[in-house]
């Protein structure tokens, strides 16, 4: 059985393997540096649907079917699906998962959804209550802009600190199989608010939460940053990554080039006009399901600390003048146990 280490970390005891992943992304992500790692690159950001929200759910459904097909399973083999997104009442996920007719946990911790889904999935498998679980997350640039910002046709300028919501869905199948890579630890994030109010600088809002969770992970596991081949946060972008780096130094953990961010990896800053980088639930989800899982399988990376980050604001909380709290959930993934 899993056991608690320190204040925030859970050590997974029985093997919980990531047996396969699938990533579906939009056209812009398909022109980015990680393009070759994605399973499906859509030509049409509407994915044949009539609205952005319906498109997001269809993308979720496509990713779920893809991961089941890649793992050579049928949907009946999946015990539970755990997924979340950014839309009101989690409809991006629910309307996509619905058609598979499997038991479902909808979750929300904003863009750190994939970290929370993988943590809950790993614990459930470790407990013996399930054999195969899909953990996934999704976001869509257009549905997110519509809900959180302004209509797409409005002629406005994006701040240089802003990030670009990734369109896509990333899914992983967790299982009690004996083949790696394995989820070995999950560090549950606390909600951290350093008083950032600028909704066009999400990296700054989330960096303190990322640093808090990463430091807690090292404290609880008594590991050093050098233990990992790669530490990668979810969607802090360039500015947030630098801030998290400085905050970690302040806490006494000197990180180096092995620390990066999915929002930096997914877009080409110079060519793709994405300012501070990528963001959204799909940013960490597809970067893991595509690029990181591939690197683990090829053993170019053997030990990674994957730390999806989320900004816990709503348009209402922002309009009422509340600052933006952040959260980050860390998942340690290793090829050997």
């Amino acid at each position: 059985m899993a056991k608690r280490l320190g204040e925030q970390t859970i050590k997974i005891d029985n093997p919980v393997s990531i047996i396969n992943t699938a990533s579906v992304v939009g056209p812009k992500e398909g022109q980015g540096p990680l393009a070759r790692y994605f399973d499906v690159v859509l030509d049409d950001i509407l994915h044949g649907c009539e609205s952005w929200e319906k498109a997001e759910s269809k993308i979720v459904e496509t990713a779920l079917n893809k991961v089941i097909e890649k793992a050579d399973l049928s949907s009946r083999d999946i015990d539970i699906i755990i997924a979340g997104d950014l839309l009101d009442q989690n409809t991006g996920s629910t309307f996509g998962v619905m058609h598979l007719n499997r038991p479902f946990w909808g979750i929300f911790s904003a863009c750190s959804n994939i970290g929370q889904a993988m943590s809950i999935g790993a614990l459930t498998i470790d407990s013996g209550a399930a054999e195969k679980i899909i953990a996934g997350a999704s976001s869509h640039f257009c549905s997110a802009e519509k809900q959180f910002r302004t209509p797409l046709e409005l002629g406005n300028q994006r701040a240089p600190t802003s990030t670009w919501t990734v369109t896509g869905s990333g899914c992983t199948i967790l299982s009690n199989s004996q083949d790696g890579p394995f989820i070995t630890h999950a560090t549950v994030g606390k909600i951290v608010d350093f008083g950032v109010v600028d909704a066009a600088n999400m990296g700054a809002a989330m960096a303190p939460a990322a640093a808090d969770t990463i430091a807690a992970h090292f404290r609880d596991t008594r590991r050093e940053p050098s233990y990992y081949d790669l530490i990668i946060t979810g969607d802090l972008g360039y500015i947030g990554r630098e801030l998290a780096f400085r905050l970690m130094g302040d806490k006494g953990y000197q990180l180096d080039d092995t620390y990066t961010d999915c929002g930096i990896k997914i877009f080409d800053k110079a060519k793709q006009d994405t300012h501070s980088g990528g963001s959204g639930c799909a940013c960490s989800a597809v970067t893991f399901a595509g690029y990181l899982f591939n690197a683990l399988k090829e053993q170019t990376l053997n030990k990674i600390l994957f730390v999806p980050t989320g900004a816990l604001l709503s348009p209402t909380s922002s309009q009422q003048g509340q600052s933006i709290p952040g959260i980050a959930h860390a998942v340690a993934i290793e090829n050997t146990r």
Binding site: E50, S51, E53, K146, T150, P151, L152, E153, L154, G155, N156, Q157, R158, A159, P160, T161, F194, G195, V196, N201, A204, P208, I239, E242, L243, R246, L247, D250
Partner: protein, 147 residues
């Protein structure tokens, strides 16, 4: 790290907008919209239409242009380049009305287009009306020699 010290670090690491080039672009495009407005106004006036009516017709033509460019997806691109240069002219007002109308059409004619058309431009009308009524109250009573 303390919150105040963190905010300083955020300010230090966050790049500022390119204010010089943004300002020049806003000047150029804002000025061009004004020249266009002047040209339309002069055209109406030379057709023998009175000054006040010509001004209203000019607004209507500019609003038509703003809505059309919005529908074609071009106003978004102009706005990305020009910033305030395309938001402040009356074409920007048209863009602020047309963009939610188009964006929310999937939510239906009534609660989508109808209800959300003024989510961005509404405040301008609310506070414009409010201020002008206060102006009217002062004007009315000062005319009567009360103020």
């Amino acid at each position: 790290m303390e919150k105040t010290k963190y905010q300083e670090l955020v300010n230090e690491l966050s790049p500022n907008s390119k204010i010089i080039s943004n300002t020049l672009k806003a000047f150029l495009i804002g000025g061009l919209f004004s020249i266009g407005g002047q040209f339309i106004l002069n055209t109406f006036k030379s057709a023998g239409i009175a000054q006040d009516s010509a001004a209203t017709y000019t607004s209507i033509v500019l609003i038509f242009i703003g809505v059309l460019l919005t529908g074609l997806g071009l106003y978004q691109r102009i706005g990305k380049f020009a910033g305030a240069g395309s938001a402040v002219p009356i074409t920007g007002f048209a863009n602020a009305v047309a963009s939610p109308a188009i964006e929310f059409k999937k939510e239906g004619h009534i609660m989508g287009v109808g209800a959300r058309m003024f989510i961005l431009a509404g405040p301008v009308i609310v506070f414009g009306t409010f201020t002008s009524m206060i102006v009217g109250v002062f004007y009315y009573f000062s005319k009567g020699g009360l103020l």
